[in-house]
């Protein structure tokens, strides 16, 4: 009898919690691009240390998923690493930083500079061996992001245009994973967020232009995309407060330190 009763009450408790607290978690959900995610987490960490009662939940899922989540109110803020599509234009988007896409190779790879058209030919599979780029006779191993990734879509838009990325490319589901693969394979080439480049990989110059903050700001490095916070309407409440923090100098400093381009500095675009 006792076991029976205690199970019954536990289930009752759970049920009451469900019924009574539908979605009552205090705090806001920020979901979307995995490129923006680590930075949003950093910002959330900083924000929560200044506002002890707040809770900000950062989630990945991809730019498209994040925008969907905002539309369906599953998330308060959507993160996107690409600009809004025409059908998404009715949402409220704010650029919180700018990020460059860098082409990376293994540190031991002799190549240091590629032109946009060379990159296009490599990624479409037309150039297949490092020999054609002045290196050793080894096959080029392409590393790509998965379909639906904002980073991939930006890469497609800025670099490939109408051409398809070779179907033979390896696919990894985050910037960090691409970086891992490239750092371990001397023949690999991939693209990641500038903010995630570290000493394990080498960033290539684009037609002689170094992907660094100066060149991004004055517009000479062209593979730049916005990091957006997307809202279903005018931001209000906690979401507004978080946004204001993110746009403020201390937060932007944090982002600059991590390799993003702050929106507070004057930009070429």
């Amino acid at each position: 009898m006792k076991i029976y009763l205690s199970w019954f009450f536990s289930i009752l408790m759970i049920f009451l919690q469900i019924v009574g607290c539908q979605r009552s978690r205090a705090g806001i959900t920020v979901a979307g691009s995995t490129s923006v995610e680590p930075f949003a987490e950093l910002l959330a960490e900083e924000y929560m240390s200044r506002h002890l009662e707040s809770h900000i939940y950062v989630q990945g899922g991809g730019s498209t998923a994040g925008i969907e989540a905002v539309k369906s109110h599953a998330a308060n803020i959507g993160m996107s690493s690409r600009s809004l599509l025409p059908e998404e234009k009715n949402l409220y988007a704010v650029t919180i930083a700018r990020d460059a896409i860098t082409i990376i190779v293994h540190p031991k790879n002799p190549t240091t500079n590629l032109s946009l058209s060379q990159i296009k030919q490599v990624f479409s599979g037309k150039i297949r061996s490092w020999k054609e780029l002045g290196g050793a006779a080894h096959p080029i191993i392409l590393v790509n992001r998965e379909e639906g990734s904002g980073t991939r879509e930006s890469f497609q838009k800025f670099v490939m245009g109408k051409e398809e990325i070779s179907l033979e490319s390896l696919v990894q589901d985050s910037n960090g994973a691409i970086r891992q693969v490239v750092s371990n394979d001397p023949n690999a080439i991939g693209y990641i967020s500038l903010g995630l480049v570290n000493e394990k990989v080498k960033a290539l110059k684009l037609s002689g232009v170094e992907p660094d903050v100066t060149d991004i700001e004055n517009g000479t490095y062209t593979l730049v995309r916005p990091f957006l916070f997307v809202f279903s309407g005018e931001p209000a409440g906690e979401a507004k407060s978080f946004l204001e923090f993110v746009l403020s100098p201390p937060a932007q400093n944090l982002l600059s330190k991590e390799g993003l381009v702050s929106i507070l500095k004057p930009s070429g675009k």
Binding site: T64, A65, E68, G148, S149, L170, V171
Partner: protein
Amino acid sequence: MEIQEKIIEKTLLFVALSSIMILGLITFFIFEQGLPLIWKIGPRAFILGERWVPSQGSFGILPMIACSFWVTIGALALGIPLGLACAIFLSEWSPPSVGMVLRPAIQLLAAIPSVIYGFWGLIVLVPLVRNYLGGPGLSILSGSLILGFMILPTIISISEDSLNALPPSYKQGALALGATHWQAIWRVLIPAARSGIVTSIILGMGRAVGETMAMIMILGNAVKMPTSFLDSARTLTTNIGIEMGYASGDHRQALFATGVVLFIIIMLLNSLAIFLSRRRAG
């Protein structure tokens, strides 16, 4: 009192039907999400299509089916000999002291999370394959090797049970007729335990086809039809796993549709295994 008993019995019946109800729910929802897309593009185009490029609306999963197939074959190529060998070892030859180490070791092998296997494969196997055999290392070969190891416990434990369940007269009879120990095992015991061993292999296949995390880490996930064991490719499971987070609309439905195909394959394998094992026990 009577009424209370009746109520309890009916409640328990309801509870007991929960597993089949959950199975039904899963089937319903997966099919509900996935089937419309299969009808939309046509089952033939979906299953036999060779291009998976969601941004262009191409949803062909033949490369994934091929990869699942080859990775499983590869895993079985490692798992069956090694697994049978260990099962025979444990059942017939092992000194009790070694058995006491090996059996818990195998149980532990089964309990280790697949992400750990994937990680180890990534750190150790992939570079080896890349440096000595070529290709990116993230390949069907690497995947098969790790998967083979992951299904070992399944094959070993069920095969060993089947061998142990055989009447001792089989072995004694063979030995009495002058067979060596090995001949007794190879020609009498294994064939006699055949159905149990086959069941274990089918269950191992089911496990292999269903593995996701380790495969995402090791296979490289290229979308093209694989042409060699050193090629990177993606299985039905990793196709879902790697794109699910980002997908919406048709793309998401296509992933559920991949799930439908996967589900059907697994159900067929499992039903076969259940049928064989019930026949054996019955």
